[in-house]
């Protein structure tokens, strides 16, 4: 299946295209945050005011503009999601394809993956984040450190099927370099799976980062969607000010939903027979 025909079919999926537009808007918001709103800091003059013309999303218990917090939170949330999923994908894919090619390594990799995947990850992330101390770097590394096993699990099963195919055997006759075979034959064959994995890992990273921030383990110096919820909870303002939890929650929801729909639409477009099932 060529890339062009996949894209042609993807464009015909209204949900997928809608999700792509939503994602593009969120990325634009993140990149253009300095143009869209002033960085919220210090104290505002009016505390806990509902949404109005002056403050579209209302103000929080310090009088800060919630719209500005959500806009700058988009930057932080997308940065964490992108960085964490990139690290997890690179590391996870590397172990998966190298393991699939060198079978002795594979046994060890799959045991570690199985063990990690049968542990409750959020409490583990909490412990590490608390030990190391909350910062954006910590959050990214912690999420990446516990996201790669899922990537390895998914990519590995496909890679194992690929290395058994005749054309990989043929490649073995042409070269003795496993690096060449892995990069030229195995990785391209699992690429579609990696693309889907990127999107899903990133969306799970958004939820994990928001979860950590909601428990008070987010970067205290940067606004994130989870931190808005955490501050609202800390100030006891959840019950009176509905706009405080509403807007960051909507942002998280839109981002994760868009990512899920994009990956589904991409899968359907790549493999039209499957979508009929």
């Amino acid at each position: 299946m060529t890339r062009a025909s996949t894209w042609r079919r993807f464009r015909r999926e209204p949900l997928g295209m809608g999700a792509l537009i939503v994602l593009a808007l969120l990325v634009f918001t993140a990149v253009a945050a300095p143009l869209l709103a002033d960085y919220p800091s210090g104290y505002g003059d009016t505390v806990l005011t509902p949404p109005s013309g002056a403050h579209w999303f209302g103000t929080d218990s310090l009088g800060l503009d919630v719209y500005a917090e959500v806009v700058w939170g988009a930057q932080q949330s997308l940065l964490v999601a992108a960085a964490a999923s990139l690290i997890a994908i690179l590391f996870g894919t590397f172990l998966a394809v190298v393991g699939a090619y060198f079978r002795r390594l594979d046994a060890l990799v799959s045991v570690i993956v199985d063990l990690t995947l049968s542990l409750p990850i959020l409490p583990l992330m909490i412990l590490v984040a608390a030990l190391v101390g909350p910062s954006t770097m910590t959050i990214i590394l912690v999420i990446a450190a516990f996201s790669w096993p899922e990537v390895t699990r998914v990519v590995r099963s496909q890679a194992l099927a690929v290395v058994r195919l005749p054309y990989v055997d043929a490649a073995r006759l042409m070269t003795s370099s496993p690096v060449w075979i892995i990069t030229r034959h195995v990785v391209p064959a699992v690429m579609p799976l990696i693309l889907v994995s990127v999107v899903l890992t990133a969306s799970r990273a958004v939820l994990s980062a928001a979860g950590l921030a909601f428990l008070g383990l987010g970067d205290p110096n940067t606004w994130s969607w989870g931190r808005i919820l955490y501050e609202a909870q800390q100030a006891g303002a959840m019950s009176t000010a509905w706009w405080l939890p509403l807007f960051p929650s909507l942002a998280i929801f839109l981002l994760v939903l868009a990512a899920t729909l994009i990956s589904t639409a991409y899968n359907d477009a790549r493999n039209p027979r499957r979508s009929k099932a």
Binding site: L115, L131, S239, S249, L257, L261, A277
Partner: protein
């Protein structure tokens, strides 16, 4: 004989997983940047106390020796002392565990009770209107952030409508039947939040396995024999499709539920382990965080093991493979 081996193998696997969790925790506590004394005592201590603690807990000894001692301590159920409350971590966690188990258990049961019929109805007419609706709702539910759902339900049904209490696990000063009623009333909203987020994954899996089972030969045969459609669907196809997925997804959901329950207990000030973790984060109470992770890991592993073994007893195919 093979049954005995099967049980033994699952048991060994469970032990291996717990050992892995313990080792990862040990390595993290010792090797991550940060003062190891912090992990067992309060941050505001004098250098003398710190040195004393390092000796007392053997933190000045070589790593392998520490590791063996750590294992020994855990085997005796000693998780250290919470420095913010000065109580045994094990005691504190054991007081919280029943509430968390109640919440997770209730959420799991409701998810299964709602999830199976929804999955079956969607699979029965795959591609139909109901199937579309179920799929959209399932995907939407999976994209929700647990605390967001919790806060929304709390705001609407707790604060605005006043149908349910807004926090805690029971009403103080009630006894007997009244107390049990208050426990149920306090359980509804946090449980519902967890169900809303988990249901999608469950329904979608039931749906897809059932669709697959409906294409099998024995289903065609049952239909050819003139059995009513409903009977083929609910009895023949569902029974064979469900057992394996239920265990598989049950385990997955169990893992995600543990994450969700920490967040939802925080929203509802529910006195379980999740709420304890939140308080421990605020006070940087490392022994509690460490103990909570280990305890939750053990719970998940034990639940996994039991479901696996029970399922193996029920399904002859598992023992064979």
């Amino acid at each position: 004989m093979s049954l005995f081996l099967f049980v033994l193998r699952r048991f060994g696997r469970g032990l291996l997983t717990i050992w892995f969790a313990v080792t990862v925790t040990f390595l993290m506590l010792r090797l991550l940047p940060g003062d190891p004394a912090l992990a067992i005592a309060s941050p505001n201590m004098t250098p003398e106390i710190r040195a004393g603690l390092l000796t007392q807990y053997g933190l000045d000894e070589p790593l392998p020796v520490q590791y063996v001692k750590y294992l020994g301590q855990l085997l005796r159920g000693n998780l250290g002392v919470s420095f913010s409350q000065g109580v045994d971590v094990t005691d504190a966690l054991m007081a919280q565990l029943p509430w968390t188990l109640l919440l997770v258990g209730a959420a799991l049961v409701v998810t299964v009770i709602l999830g199976i019929p929804l999955g079956v109805l969607a699979a029965a007419k795959a591609g139909g209107v109901l199937d579309r609706v179920v799929q959209i709702v399932a995907v939407t539910g999976q994209s929700l952030f647990v605390p967001s759902v919790g806060i929304l339900l709390l705001y609407v049904f707790g604060l605005q409508l006043g149908w349910f209490p807004i926090g805690g696990a029971y009403t103080d000063g009630t006894y007997g039947g009244e107390w049990y009623l208050s426990v149920v009333a306090h359980l509804v909203l946090p449980c519902l939040s967890l169900v809303l987020v988990q249901l999608g994954a469950y329904v979608l899996t039931v749906r897809s396995t059932l669709i697959e089972a409906l294409g099998e030969d024995y289903v065609t045969l049952a239909r050819a024999n003139g059995l009513p459609h409903r009977r083929v669907l609910w009895k023949h196809a569902l029974r064979n499709a469900l057992l394996p997925t239920t265990t598989l997804i049950g385990l997955q959901i169990c893992l995600y539920l543990v994450g969700g329950v920490i967040l939802i207990e925080t929203v509802y000030a529910y006195p379980g382990i999740g709420r304890g973790i939140y308080d421990a984060v605020v006070r940087l109470d490392f022994p509690v965080l460490q103990g909570a992770f280990l305890l939750l890991a053990v719970v998940v592993v034990v639940v996994n093991m039991i479901t696996d073994i029970v399922y193996g007893l029920l399904d002859p195919r598992v023992k064979a493979s």
